[in-house]
């Protein structure tokens, strides 16, 4: 138990029971957000006249709920900013080569690198790679107009930049590992 956790325990024992959520971690938060999204979807079911699938519509609600929850709890994921100039030097081929075959060491570094992304970037990567959602649906979830070509193009560019950012982070980690 670190010094921060001791402080939290003292505060909980002092009556601030809400702070116990710290020990439940993000899983409890995620469940709360998911439940809120489903309840909200049920309440606004009459408004569901979109050309998007139902799951995408609920995902958009969940995204909005998650953002407002992060705002109210003033919780921010720590993320790393990489210079644009540095990203320009990285080619898509270099990234594809690095992310193509899953080596054990590379996977571990990628896990660390993913944690350096901000919430929006992580969500974008998860929706693109894990759920294999079409870009217009991803745009809709993130509050953009899914039928607008400009939004879809912006997302495509953002995905390319996030890949490059991950690549830069991996290279940095490999370099620092090499030095040590």
């Amino acid at each position: 138990m670190g010094p921060d956790e001791r402080l939290i325990v003292q505060r909980i024992l002092g009556g601030k029971t809400d702070e116990y959520a710290y020990f439940l971690g993000h899983v409890a938060d995620a469940e709360e957000v998911a439940q809120d999204a489903f309840v909200s979807a049920y309440i606004h079911l009459a408004d569901y006249r979109t050309d998007m699938p139902f799951a995408t519509w609920v995902c958009r609600m969940a995204y909005n709920k998650a953002i407002s929850m992060l705002r109210t709890r003033k919780r921010q994921l720590q993320h790393v900013v990489v210079d644009d100039e540095l990203l320009e030097k990285v080619s898509n081929e270099m990234v594809s080569e690095a992310f193509g075959v899953p080596h054990e060491g590379r996977v571990a570094l990628l896990e660390k690198a993913l944690n350096t992304l901000n919430a929006d970037e992580r969500l974008l990567i998860a929706l693109f790679y894990e759920n294999s959602k079409p870009l217009r649906e991803i745009a809709y979830i993130l509050g953009m107009n899914g039928n607008d070509r400009q939004s879809v193009n912006t997302l495509a560019v953002r995905i390319g930049r996030i890949r490059k950012k991950l690549y830069v982070m991996i290279k940095r980690m490999e370099e620092s590992d090499g030095r040590t």
């Binding site: 439940q35 489903f38 594809s96 992310f99 899953p102 790679y129 995905i159």
Partner: protein, 128 residues
Amino acid sequence: MEEHKQMEQLEQWRLHDQALQMVVKKESNEQPAHHFSYRTMQRIVAQEQRMARRKKLTEVVVLTAVAMIAMGVVIAFLWSYFLDIGLSFSRGKSVHDAPANPSLLVGMVVCCCFFGALNLFLRKQFRL
């Protein structure tokens, strides 16, 4: 053409970035807790009950306000006639001797229409 090329490239990334795909899937592999669906449905039922209660309360408040306003209007409309009847009684005259008031007929028709419509609405609303 440019857009088509961009989409093709994205599909290539999705297909070939195996390492990244593996990490993303591993990261979001957490399953919801036991009884997630049951608890969500419980929340939805509770929410629906709250909404139904709120709707009923709003209806009762609105109907009471409308009925009170309507009664006020009817009384104000027929006030002079009631006054005439009262004065006639106090002078020992019968109702038939009271001065004719054309507003009486209009007032009675308006009153009957309003309360008839309210009756129909309430029967429909409360399924009587």
